[in-house]
């Protein structure tokens, strides 16, 4: 039994234009201590899927199907009090836009300490000491002084570190990071990534990293889930995904990822835009944008299969699976791309140098 198991989750948003199925039957699992990336464009339903884990969808969103099991218990069946006991204690969230995550009228320290006091049986001064240790742990200098700072008195990068400190307040088993580096400038991003990488490496905390940035995934994750139009289209250990992407969408994403040492004038883009989830495309949802699409793609919906054997997903999270009709032998012309692994002079980190490009 994995720590967190999401099974056939369906999330809908009710808008003036119609019902948006932001998450349409995704399943995945996260085991203790591992870091899993959930990647996709804006509007792919990544944030909805992540917020659903703690039942934090806003008013217009609703979980209409599936199960989310944490340590074997379905979170969707929990009482309000049991759910609250898990939130912030066992499963914590790091939100995008750190500036808005803190309540502007209370000090950073108070808000972190408040989380500890809510879940742990501690005195006020113990909560305070623990908070200062947390602020120190996330790399904020002079933690005792920063405890009494108001959120607006910290820089954007420090705010994001403080948000991470707040999420770590009760030493959660699962940390869900929703676009943790979006909106930060590049050097600050690097610092936050380093912090998350250190967390992933040194703590027992499992991390679900939601991002649109494959570079971030490469730095941090053990496994990757690629989400497109509310569905998971590819799942793979991180090396397999980068060296041997199987889904045309993943190939497009990789080709569109900028990296240092790249001498191309322009990055290729995936043609078209993310589909309207009120009325998603028939068959394979990627077919209107896929360079290899054939007639059958518009009518038959592919499921996750093992590309080597064409057999359905066996459920082992380490298996590389992709949802493309190619692997069930339905495409006549096949997928015509090659993966080039590029060597760059500045390769000093875990970064992988390869490009998948349609020829």
């Amino acid at each position: 039994m994995a720590l967190l198991e999401v099974d056939d989750l369906v999330v809908q948003y009710y808008t003036d234009d119609g019902v948006v199925r932001a998450v349409d039957g995704i399943s995945y699992e996260i085991r203790a201590g591992e870091t899993v990336g959930l990647v996709g464009e804006s509007g792919a339903g990544k944030s909805a899927a992540s917020r659903a884990v703690l039942r934090l969808l806003d008013g217009a969103g609703e979980i209409v199907g599936g199960e989310i099991r944490f340590r074997g218990h379905d979170i969707l069946e929990l009482s309000v009090d049991d759910l609250r006991a898990i939130r912030g204690d066992e499963i914590a969230m790091v939100f995008q836009d750190a500036g808005a995550v803190f309540n502007p009228v209370y000090t950073v320290g108070e808000q972190i300490a408040e989380t500890i006091r809510t879940h742990k049986d501690v005195t006020d001064s113990e909560a305070r000491d623990r908070t200062i240790a947390l602020i120190d742990r996330v790399g904020i200098p002079n933690p005792a002084a920063r405890y009494a700072d108001y959120p607006h008195e910290l820089s954007g990068g420090m705010q994001q570190r403080a948000v991470i400190a707040m999420a770590l307040a009760c030493d959660p088993a699962v940390l869900i990071c929703d676009e943790p580096t979006t909106g930060l400038d590049v050097t600050v991003q690097a610092g936050i990534l380093e912090l998350l990488a250190e967390l992933a490496a040194t703590s027992e905390t499992a991390i679900q990293l939601v991002t649109h940035d494959l570079g971030v995934v490469a730095e941090l994750c053990d496994r990757v889930l690629v989400q497109y139009a509310g569905e998971i289209v590819e799942r793979a250990p991180v090396d397999d995904l980068y060296y041997d992407p199987k889904h045309p969408y993943t190939v497009g994403l990789l080709a569109a990822t900028p990296r240092l040492g790249d001498d191309r004038e322009r990055l290729p883009t995936i043609p078209g835009t993310a589909p309207d989830l009120i009325d998603p495309p028939t068959g394979c949802r990627f077919h209107p944008r896929c360079p290899y699409a054939e007639d059958c793609c518009a009518s038959r919906r592919p499921s996750l299969v093992d590309p080597a054997s064409g057999r359905p997903d066996n459920g082992d999270p380490e298996t590389h699976v992709a949802a493309c009709l190619e692997y069930t032998g339905d495409l006549e012309a096949g997928l015509d791309y090659e993966v080039q692994v590029r060597d760059a002079a500045d390769s000093d980190c875990r970064e992988r140098k390869q490009q998948g490009e349609p020829r």
């Binding site: 609250r84 939130r87 912030g88």
Partner: protein, 315 residues
């Protein structure tokens, strides 16, 4: 900037504002058409010597600037002289009326907050549910009901028909059971619309705050809903309410003309109207000054409470 420095600076700004208030109050008599002497003698023909004597007595023969300083000196010591109309000491008249007005206005103000704040929280949290609909309907009725009508109905039903309350104020000191009991109906009359206003303001302000990311984040941390609402949302949602409550506090001192009239309450509102009708300038001047100072002080209070509630406010 620290809170202490902010408050200090805000206090310092208040001084020139107060000087401005006194200057305006003083000059309004001079801006009115006609001569002050005419007003004092009641617009009768008098001899030149009498006029000169009156000018000398009231220092009207001196430059306006000197007159202002003389008046200011007296005003600071609360010495407004005698009313030329009634012959009574102006300070004593106001001293009698002001406590009555403050008692009624203060009670109505507390009632407005005591009803408006909890009702605002409940309706905001239960938006779209029956409690919200009932609350909003009640607020609409409260705002739409003219207070002269509400006062008359209350007086008719509870005092005249049921006999639960006196029709006229008792001849008892302000702080006495009889007076407090008498004040129940005027307090309800005066406080209803204000309560409805506070409720609507707090409700809409809280609705807006409830959508803020920090609220989702607070829930994600597992804080109890009570803490999320009362500790996190309410403090942010309170700023507009503070503004309105502060201004209402300032307008307490000018009394409620209509409600005081209905309940025969000897407050500032009736005094002001009567003084205007009688052209009793020293009384009008003193009342205007008191109102002006109250507004300045209420604004000061609002700004300080703002800064305490929201640490980002340090302008």
């Amino acid at each position: 900037m620290s809170l202490g420095r902010y408050v200090g600076r805000r206090l310092a700004i208040t001084v020139p504002v107060l000087v401005g208030v006194t200057a305006l109050t003083f000059s309004f008599v001079h801006l009115l058409p006609g001569d002050a002497v005419d007003a004092i003698v009641g617009f009768r023909d008098v001899s030149a010597e009498t006029e000169a004597a009156i000018r000398a007595e009231y220092h009207l023969d001196q430059p306006v600037w000197d007159q202002y300083l003389l008046w200011l000196r007296d005003a600071i010591t609360l010495e407004f002289g005698e009313s030329p109309v009634t012959g009574r000491d102006v300070s004593a008249t106001i001293g009698r009326r002001l406590p009555a007005t403050l008692a009624l206005g203060g009670a109505a103000w507390l009632l407005a907050l005591a009803i408006g704040i909890p009702a605002g929280i409940v309706t905001a949290v239960s938006a779209g549910k029956p409690a919200d609909e009932v609350g909003r309907l009640a607020a609409l009725a409260g705002i739409a009901t003219p207070n002269f009508w509400l006062g008359l109905i209350l007086l008719f039903v509870f005092s005249v028909r049921l006999g639960w309350f006196r029709v006229l104020p008792p001849d008892a000191p302000l702080v006495s059971l009889a007076t407090v009991k008498f004040l129940v109906l005027p307090t309800i009359t005066l406080g209803t619309a204000a309560a409805a206003l506070v409720m609507r303001l707090l409700r809409s302000s809280m609705r807006r705050e409830l959508d803020a990311p920090y609220v989702t984040a607070a829930r994600a941390r597992g804080l109890p809903e009570r803490t999320v609402i009362l500790k996190h949302v309410l403090r942010n949602a309170f700023l507009p309410v503070v503004t309105v409550a502060g201004l209402q506090l300032a307008f307490l001192v000018d009394g409620a003309v209509v409600v005081e009239g209905i309940f025969s309450w000897p407050g500032m509102g009736r005094l002001l109207v009567r003084s205007i009708l009688r052209r009793d300038y020293p009384v009008i001047q003193a009342i205007v000054l008191v109102i002006g100072i109250a507004i300045v002080l209420a604004n000061l209070l609002v700004d300080i409470i703002y800064a305490i509630l929201d640490p980002r406010i340090r302008y």
